[in-house]
């Protein structure tokens, strides 16, 4: 698979100009540099405060790394981060928030997207107890303004760039295929941002190559991934043999996609582009095994970004609208920067760069 878009054009139809997509991808493949999300402030007022961190699911590496980074950042700022470890059950989040209220924490963080919709009464109780709650990495940057209205009990949000990831996946497929994308996009709509990511993907195809690109979107709940995704993909490939990209809304689904593609005997013609930057999926780029590109996020950076917003809340500083965490596109040309074997934390340049950025911002340096 050549990243050079023009090459594939002859086989599948009229040549399409893919330079715009390529430009986007090239930009996204580069290393990001730290940009201050907002004005500097003094964190010393937050010294000695305690926050309770309730993550989506402590058995997921994404949350583990972010949680650890939050702990690290908290330590530097003199804030105690109490982790409420859980297995992703709603009753456990509820308990986590309640335990935060009971411990009279100074703030509660819903890290990596526990859905506030299922915590209505608890968030109200937190607000009543004067404890601010910060929701992170759930709503796309474009949705945060709406979310503020929907969730009045949440003091601040840390936005995510989910939709942009959808756009980037589409761009990569366009560039990679020379503008002839027939994508099969598997989403899990019970997760808040999923539908938006799918839409962003589809919109980008419509914008960049309306005549030659299309995508079919199907919904499979996460609880059915193990039993349904493989057969679903496999039958889709049977039904429409011209499908050349299979896209998971979250890359945790990738192994089931692989099974389906292999079983359908389509390993030669189908590729995967994915979002989340999970180590095992990045490794598949290195192995040249179906996955051609991954949109990843610097997880430690996310942790620090979370803490930036939290510290702003703790110190009474106005929360920022966007934490400006970056996305990076990995393909075979740059995936080795993430280590071999891939370490999910790595691949985003020197972590001290953004850490120093935040330290400066917080007046610690």
């Amino acid at each position: 698979a050549s990243p050079n878009g023009a090459a594939a054009a002859t086989a599948s139809g009229p040549a399409v100009d893919t330079s715009a997509a390529k430009a986007e991808i090239d930009k996204a493949k580069a290393l990001a540099t730290f940009t201050a999300p907002g004005p500097a402030f003094d964190v010393s007022k937050a010294q000695g405060k305690t926050i309770v961190n309730v993550s989506l699911n402590s058995t997921v590496p994404f949350n583990q790394i972010v949680d650890a980074a939050m702990g690290e950042a908290g330590k530097e700022a003199g804030v105690k981060v109490v982790q409420f470890t859980n297995q992703g059950q709603v009753s456990q989040w509820i308990q986590g928030v309640q335990s935060g209220i009971a411990q009279k924490a100074d703030a509660i963080v819903l890290e990596g997207s526990p859905d506030p919709k299922l915590l209505g009464p608890q968030l109200a109780a937190a607000k009543a107890a004067g404890i601010p709650v910060i929701s992170t990495h759930l709503y796309d940057e474009s949705y945060v303004e709406t979310a503020k209205k929907e969730q009045p009990n949440i003091a601040a949000f840390v936005d995510a760039h989910h939709y942009r990831a959808g756009t980037l996946m589409a761009d990569y497929a366009i560039m990679n295929s020379g503008g002839h994308v027939n994508a099969y996009f598997v989403t899990s709509n019970e997760v808040q941002p999923a539908a938006g990511i799918a839409k962003a993907f589809k919109d980008e195809l419509a914008a960049k190559c309306p005549a030659t690109c299309k995508a079919e979107i199907v919904n499979i709940p996460i609880s059915d991934w193990a039993t349904k995704v493989a057969t679903q993909v496999q039958t889709a490939l049977l039904k429409d043999p011209s499908i050349n990209y299979v896209v998971p809304v979250f890359d945790g689904m990738t192994s089931f996609l692989t099974t389906g593609i292999t079983q359908a005997g389509k390993t030669g013609s189908v590729k995967i582009v994915a979002y989340n930057g999970t180590a095992s999926v990045m490794k598949m780029i290195q192995d040249k095994n179906l996955v051609v590109a991954e949109v990843g996020e610097p997880l430690e950076w996310l942790g620090w970004a979370n803490m930036d917003q939290v510290l702003r809340v703790l110190t009474g500083t106005e929360p920022v609208a966007s934490e400006k965490t970056p996305l990076r596109v990995f393909d075979s040309t740059n995936v080795d920067e993430a280590g071999k074997p891939v370490n999910q934390k790595d691949g985003y340049g020197d972590p001290n760069q953004f850490k120093d950025g935040y330290r400066t911002l917080w007046g610690l340096k």
């Binding site: 699911n57 402590s58 058995t59 109490v82 982790q83 409420f84 470890t85 859980n86 297995q87 992703g88 059950q89 709603v90 009753s91 456990q92 509820i94 308990q95 986590g96 309640q98 335990s99 209220i101 009971a102 411990q103 859905d115 506030p116 919709k117 299922l118 915590l119 209505g120 009464p121 608890q122 109200a124 109780a125 899990s188 709509n189 019970e190 808040q192 919904n219 709940p221 996460i222 609880s223």
Partner: protein, 341 residues
């Protein structure tokens, strides 16, 4: 929290008051209180390890209040278990019930009581259908309710369009989780009240006894004039209704409903039901034993969570505690096979 003395006597399965051996009596007592005792030990242990956080009223209040849904779901299970049947559709009923309350209340503007009634009616129908298929076709409850559970999941996905729905009337939320008594959410007291009701039904009504008879000896019961089919259908209807109540509590606790989460409660509920059958009235599924089992497990998990241990340790505790607790209680019991009805 335990049954009055005379009940214990009248229904205990072991050689209670066996005049010949006081040793047996002592063993029996040991086994009855083994689980409550283990629970106490856990509390003491975590108290020592983490006094400032664990040994606070707030921790206990949260612990007690947060498991009402699981407790009610487990109560739902023990009704058919007593009658010798499994109900795997309770998780599906819970999810659909919560979802119905959310959809009817939030999207269609029904008052909360009407939405709750609709959910209960749905549960009655589900239980009835489960039961009729089981009895009429002579199919095992396990497979009927497995099929029904899957069907309900499909219906939930369809009705909710796979989305989480929030914004349920404050009224419900208020009376489930916001209002407190002694610092504990009302949900806990509802669950305990259901325990008491179920205990009364199982111990002091002929319907409860018939459940037990049918569970322990189907053809003897039939010979004695028990309408076995009706009792089994009734048990499944009872479990469905209790599961729907658990769903209402779920909706009240989280102020919304999502299309999938009920299923993760099924195995913990079975674990609690079986663990509960080792205590208070060993060898029988019983509501108070169940309550203790639920709170024993949740105390362990909460203690570990408050200590911030890794998630896998919690899993290890859960599995390990289940095995060890049941094994110890069996040792105390002289390794008599547990009778699950």
């Amino acid at each position: 929290m335990s049954a009055p003395d005379d009940t214990k006597d009248s229904t205990a399965t072991k050689d209670v008051k066996n005049s010949r051996s006081s040793k047996a009596n002592r063993l029996d007592l040991v086994q009855r209180v083994a689980l409550p005792f283990a629970w106490l030990l856990l509390i003491v242990g975590f108290g020592i390890a983490n006094p400032s956080v664990f040994l606070t009223a707030a921790t206990f209040q949260t612990m007690l209040g947060s498991q009402a849904v699981l407790l009610v779901l487990t109560l739902a299970l023990i009704v058919p278990l007593t009658a010798g049947d499994y109900d795997l559709s309770v998780a599906g009923v819970l999810t659909l019930s919560a979802m119905m309350v959310a959809i009817l209340n939030v999207q269609h503007g029904w008052p909360i009581w009407a939405a709750v009634l609709a959910a209960l009616a749905m549960a009655l129908v589900v239980g009835l259908v489960n039961g009729l298929i089981m009895v009429y076709f002579g199919i095992e409850s396990l497979i009927v309710t497995l099929g029904m559970g899957t069907l309900l999941t499909g219906i939930t996905l369809w009705a909710s369009d796979s989305a989480t729905i929030s914004g349920i009337s404050q009224g419900l939320v208020e009376y489930v989780i916001v209002k407190r008594f002694a610092g504990i959410s009302l949900a806990f007291f509802y669950a305990i009240a259901l325990c008491a009701v179920l205990w009364w039904v199982l111990e002091y009504t002929s319907i409860g006894r018939r459940l037990l008879f049918v569970g322990r000896g189907r053809s003897v019961s039939k010979l004695s004039g028990v309408r076995v089919g009706r009792v089994r259908v009734g048990a499944l209807m009872g479990s469905s209704v209790l599961a729907a109540l658990a769903g209402v509590l779920y909706a009240g606790t989280s102020g919304g409903a999502d299309p999938s989460s009920g299923s993760s409660l099924l195995l913990p509920a079975f674990a609690a039901a079986f663990l509960g059958a080792t205590s208070i009235m060993p060898g029988r599924f019983n509501p108070w034993g169940t309550a203790i089992a639920v709170y024993f497990l949740v105390t362990g998990i909460t203690g570990l969570q408050l200590m911030g241990v890794q998630s896998y340790v919690q899993q290890l505790f859960y599995g390990g505690a289940l095995l060890v607790a049941v094994a110890l209680s069996q040792l105390a019991r002289g390794r008599v096979p547990l009778d699950n009805g």
